[in-house]
Symmetry: D2
Subunit: 336 residues, 4 copies
């Protein structure tokens, strides 16, 4: 690793792209029900953001024949970091491409790469600034999402993912582990618990997108709205309090099965010697501080990811002991 060129200076996780099979149904879910703000749109895409977001988008929904996760977008500090991204991933033997401003609406020149973990990642420095809506309480609806908070990805080998993101300059906030195995890890660039987390499992797959909301009330209200409309089956897990991160959360599934988390609370991690919090895989509170069992589908299901050509990446089986097989959460058999 020591011979790698310097990584790009990543500011934070900024947006993700999802391929959805019905844009009208996706719009109903993400915009009408969850209350995401539409920054821009065209016939095949929706650009959405939270109420606090001051860049152009946190989520791009693109119409396509097969549901999948497209790119994970990271903001970098400056345009110079785009070349650093090309060199860094090039040195790792990864395919990259540079696309001009406007490749995604409202977004400057962008470097795209197939990362060593099998995910499509994108780096951009410049963004249009949309209207500031944070104090437009009259417009707020649904989960009142403020901004994207993190990506959670399924990887067959968690230590490999950890080393990769460590080489990108990410800090480590929390883990699930035991004496032999690292089952999951949470890593950050911005001063929160994470920008990216790894859940051990068949991968590469996108486990969920985490969106920040300001108050637990928003989590409860989102569930109440879904129940009101007999859409309670969209609620997969929670609400609950995480042990890891201490956040109050709920997991929802969109009409294509893409998973999102409405995530509140969190804590500051900006100090240079921020201590790592290590959870035992056998502590029933690590995934739910109140001891509620994780739903089997939450362990087994996730979104396929695409390569630079828009083709699904092959999924590789988990290469390590699975969290779900070691007696955690009362499961005694592998989830799938």
């Amino acid at each position: 690793m020591s011979s790698l060129p310097p990584p790009p200076d990543i500011v934070r996780s900024a947006y993700a792209a999802l391929v959805v099979t019905s844009l009208p149904e996706a719009r109903r879910f993400w915009v009408d029900l969850l209350g995401f703000v539409v920054t821009d749109e065209d016939a095949s895409s929706l650009y959405l953001r939270g109420y606090d977001e001051l860049t152009h988008h946190n989520l791009i929904l693109r119409s396509g024949p097969v549901a999948a996760a497209g790119a994970l977008g990271f903001r970098v500090r400056s345009v110079a970091d785009l070349s650093r991204a090309e060199e860094f991933y090039g040195a790792l033997g990864c395919r990259t491409e540079r696309v001009p401003a406007g490749f995604a609406r409202g977004q400057g020149e962008t470097v795209r790469a197939e990362d060593p973990l099998g995910f499509l990642v994108e780096f951009f420095a410049a963004s249009a600034h949309p209207e500031r809506l944070q104090q437009r309480y009259d417009l707020r609806r649904g989960a009142e999402v403020a901004r994207l908070d993190h990506f959670n990805i399924c990887v067959p080998d968690v230590p490999v993912a950890y080393e990769h993101y460590k080489s990108l300059g990410f800090g480590l906030s929390e883990t699930i582990e035991d004496g032999r195995t690292l089952y999951a890890a949470w890593m950050y660039r911005k001063q929160t618990v994470h920008d990216v987390a790894f859940t051990g499992g068949a991968g590469p797959r996108l486990h969920h997108l985490g969106f920040f909301a300001h108050e637990p009330h928003s989590v409860l209200r989102m569930c109440d709205i879904l129940g009101s409309l007999s859409l309670e089956s969209c609620i997969e897990r929670g609400p609950g309090r995480h042990g890891v991160s201490n956040a109050f959360y709920v997991y929802l599934r969109d009409p294509d099965g893409h998973r999102l988390e409405v995530y509140t609370s969190d804590y500051y991690t900006g100090d240079p010697d921020h201590p790592v919090l290590r959870w035992s895989v056998l502590d029933p509170r690590r995934r739910d501080f109140w001891g509620n069992a994780v739903i089997p589908s939450w362990y087994s299901e996730a979104s396929a990811v695409l390569d630079l050509d828009g083709k699904p990446r092959p999924v590789i089986d988990i290469a390590q002991t699975a969290e779900v097989t070691v007696g955690a959460d009362g499961f005694t058999v592998p989830a799938e």
Copy 2:
């Protein structure tokens, strides 16, 4: 008093009528901003209710040339109570009239009376049941008002008002007083702190309508929405915690200056020996538990009330020591 006929069996405060000078502006305030549900309407009236309400209306807004408070509506237990109301008020020398079902939409036969305190009161037993919306969280907006909670009226002589409502079978929950004077009183039929409260002042005038909301969040959110739209001048007093009633509250003024309270929390008063809580007029916590001073307009301004013919009732000066002149809230001069 002992020779009075039995009073009607009043269930609760149920609705009020307000005359507004612009129905479109009133609609924008009460419906679009505050989120009241429209049960019914015609060219000159709006019938509104809260999300929990299972009778036809909690508020009737009628278009008229001069802003005023019309009737205060009480639900009675049965149709037989309508005759009891006529006899009770007749024995007091009050004008009454009986109007047929439909006089107000969705409402059965009604007895109207000019009460001894100068207020127009209405009694009804039957109501249409509108659609149950309590669990339609997808529809909720604004202050998310559940139902009417109480009337607060200005009376020149608080003990007289207290005796009148006592004769109607109301219980007493709380007072503001000192060794010499009863400054204010809260009285109930339903099992809450009050259906009616008296504030000493020039009267008869309607001080405010209190509407119940389920969570403090609704009070804060309503203020945030008004601020978002630069309508913060509609917020007259609060948010705060009342000493009396322990409720978390805010007072708003509608475009005609009619005052309402969004009122949360409250407590159970249904036991037959429910103890009275008596506050000293000099306890700064009685009106705001956090010691925030009452706004002068809150003491001095209120809505004129109408008689059976729709004419404004003359206003009589306060006939007792005023709360605002005895050193409470830091005021040293009368508010008017």
Copy 3:
């Protein structure tokens, strides 16, 4: 039924007695963790209440060799209702006894009865008034319970239980049913959704005691405290939103397995024509508005109840179709 003497005028559910096998452990759970207020105590008993309660106790914990539920206590309107209780239950062929004031501390003369459903019920009119603590926010801890809200009991035959409480003058607020079967019912005297509810199952057993708290925050906080102390196994089900009652809830189990609910929200039911809300047994939202499955133990486990002599009542199997066997909640086999 028509020849029954008039029933006692029941005001509300007021207290329950639980036999616990370790009073120190029970104290740690109910007082130290949940924050119940100790009104009084002796070597073998604790008298507890919520912060709003103005009678002497909502819960009596008594030390005993075997965990069980003792009496369910109802407040009646006047001392004359004690005789009515004796006559009413006597006419039903039930054993009754009258015990003097002080039989339970702080409580006036009391009539006890073994009711036709197999439960020990107690009726009292007079109570000592303890210190008013509602506005002592400095003392609040744990779940910040305000008062007892309701009893939920397991009965083999729900329609029989419904008819019995109907004969006692209880109103019906909500049901779970289908074209053939009444699976559960909620009935009230005070102006809330219920004072007593029936869950179909082996009985007589006490399913849970419901305690009212003012804010959803108290439910979440109670869970957080239990997680903090690695006592998350005390959390049996929830938090969640009920379809029935619309309340936000959590179910906890005490060290002897007695179940309680921390219950917030609720709605007004005081109007004489209050409409019944009937839920289909196949609506997954009826027990949890967000569709979360009911925990099997919640259906199968409950507390044995005692007779007038303190002996456990025999438990009779469910005599009707069980909610859990008709496809609700994804269960395909009887819970027991």
Copy 4:
């Protein structure tokens, strides 16, 4: 400015020291009522922190004859930044001193300086890590403060203060201004709205310390506790929603008159092109989004600050137009 040596790399505002005239009274206020955690103490000092804080202290209370604000402590990235601090302030002609680890308990070597604005500032890199208490919900009390958020200081000339902190690498998030005057500014190093804010006024004085809490509930609860104990006079202003920062807040005064803010919500400012939000001084929502007038004492009163020798700094009158004299908040006369 261009010839200045590079500034120290400041991570965030970390702690403040206050001189209090009665340590037992201060302890009752900060620890018993507000719920600050005691990390350490000796006969003349208390070291306090919030529940999330992972360094040794956020607040040092020292006993002294005259109430005053001592140092404002900033954490720097590394030990090398201590020398940079000496050189930076030395180049500005400011007195500095370097004190060894342990000068404040739990804190590494520290550089102290009298800054050009007249404040005593301290820089440290190393800190002891106390026990992690974030998930000890069982211990939480009072305002449940998580960590120090910011310093708010009174300066006679806001643009001078702005330029000084700009030279230290602080970003600008929000301002209050008009075409001629900068009345107030909010500046940050960590990714929140501010680490330091300037209020135009006689100075140097400490206006308040801002402490972050996770939920609006904590603000309301703190006020309720103070009301419960008849200590409502400690509540100076609020609760309310700020226009600037969008935070939900309350201002309290300690027994020596030191002001603190319990501050919730806030937003992310970590992007390199984070846009500045500029408020008009005439917008009544800038200081309170709901239009509630600022309390006069909030504009006029503040804590004197000490120099390196522990002597109070002379206070210089405001050197620019005062916010309070330009028609904002309905004030028509200077507050002082």
